[in-house]
């Protein structure tokens, strides 16, 4: 879904919180890309919220809070950063990859999916000039197995977003020299309700405010 509006200040890894008619809580969706007044989000239909988002019409106005949360810090990238996206964690990697490429970095991207039919955005990343590896659990496309099967340990730093099991495996294999985007059920999405607070080595942190992106070194599982 693409939306027109003020995209200034939106950083990679941040999210928007969308009001949906007939539902009490807003729905947080990670930003896939934002530039020149155009916001791109990619969502998977998992419940009533995302389901009713599919009924939005082209041209319809949407009540949305933007510039939410703390995104990725590209200053930590080093010369050859690694981006690892798993399933619904792939979209936020796109804006990050674009900005890192614009900054002249050699960007390697690993995209993990369950099977060939789920693969998306592989070409978009290539077009940015990234070195892209796709992994599928069933081996129907790219490397067979998990994103960790495609690691070479050569990255200067890593950025990741994906399901918790993938993130745990990645930290095991690649250490904590990187940044991780966490996902939790949210109430307000802007830091007021404490509904999404996780424990870290630096105390409680709100996924919607101090996060969703955290230094891998402070996470506790």
């Amino acid at each position: 879904m693409r939306l027109a509006g003020d995209t200034n200040e939106i950083l990679p890894g941040q999210f928007v919180n969308i009001r949906i008619e007939g539902l009490f809580l807003r729905r947080p969706i990670s930003v896939c890309d934002a530039q020149e007044g155009l916001l791109t989000i990619i969502y998977k239909v998992v419940g009533v919220g995302t389901e009713s988002m599919t009924h939005l019409l082209a041209g319809q106005k949407v009540d949305m809070l933007t510039v939410l949360g703390t995104g990725y810090n590209i200053a930590n990238a080093g010369e050859n950063p690694l981006l690892v996206g798993g399933g619904v964690g792939v979209p936020p990697m796109y804006m990050l990859a674009r900005q890192l490429r614009e900054a002249g970095k050699a960007v390697r991207v690993i995209l993990g999916f369950n099977t060939k039919d789920e693969v998306f955005y592989e070409e978009e990343f290539r077009t940015l000039g990234c070195d892209v590896t796709v992994t599928t659990v069933d081996g129907s496309h790219g490397v067979k197995g998990f994103v960790t099967n495609a690691l070479d340990g050569q990255q200067s730093y890593y950025y990741t977003c994906g399901p918790l099991p993938m993130i745990k495996a990645l930290l095991q294999a690649a250490g904590t020299h990187g940044e991780v985007s966490m996902e939790e059920r949210m109430g307000c999405g802007f830091g007021a309700c404490m509904g999404c607070t996780i424990q870290t080595t630096q105390g409680p942190k709100r996924v919607c405010k101090e996060g969703p992106v955290f230094d891998a070194a402070i996470l506790q599982f």
Binding site: F24, L25, R185, C188, G195, P204
Partner: protein, 312 residues
Amino acid sequence: MSDKKAMNDKLQIQLSGITLANPIIPASGTYGFGDEFAELYDINCLGGISFKGTTREARYGNPLPRIAECGNYGMINAVGLQNPGVEHVIAHELPRLKSHYNGCIVANVSGFSVQDYVETCAMLDKEPIDILEVNISCPNVHNGGMAFGTSPEAAAEVTAAVKAVTTKPVYMKLSPNVTDIVAIAKACEAAGADGLCLINTVLGMRIDIRRRLPVIANRYGGYSGSGIFPLALRMVNQVARATSLPIIGCGGVSSAEDVIEMMMAGATAVEIGAANLTNPMVAKEIIDRLPTLMDELKIEKLTDIIGIVNHE
């Protein structure tokens, strides 16, 4: 009389001798210490702010998920009083709040024993807060506040113990999860409470029928939002008719119309809770809308309608 003065008279209300520019107070736990909202609008428009429920010691709160949605009418939370503890609040959050807010500061306090309440309130007594809101109704902590809020004797015990250690006005925040809210309100009044705040959240549940599990890790949580408004209004009205204490009405208020209805039922001030979480501008929008609505309803001053349905 200047327009400013006229507007003051129109919206102004008093709580235990403290003047609030208007009756609108964001409810504890839905507004943090105001920081996130101050980024969006000048929070000095608020009559008061009830800050995040504070306890003697720091608390992380309950496991995640802590939030469940209820259709288009509400939500359930089981945050479990996450807060940095009263000492940290006094050292950091309160001074920060004072630095950018000059209205009525309501200190919301929770505890797990009478001693907890006493120590926390005693420490806040020396601080620049205006009202102590003693929460004896949090449904989300084991043997926590709610136990005190479900028996008249326990409610009276906490009230008297807190009154003994503070000179601040003490408002007891009551639970709706009771058979007889009036008995508990009267017990608080007899024990010396200066006012009451009701209602806290309604103990509720939702189940994820796909995962076949309760939505929130804590199984049950506090249900809030529009769906509890008819219950809140009834309890505020019952208590207004049975006691002479000022009431801060709370529960499902999300519009200026709801504020008027809550005041007509008997509330002197009105807290906005869950609505802040879905529309961060709602408190300001309600304050801006009130004068127009009052003109439509031929209400000259808000103080004229407090408990008006009870004047037979």
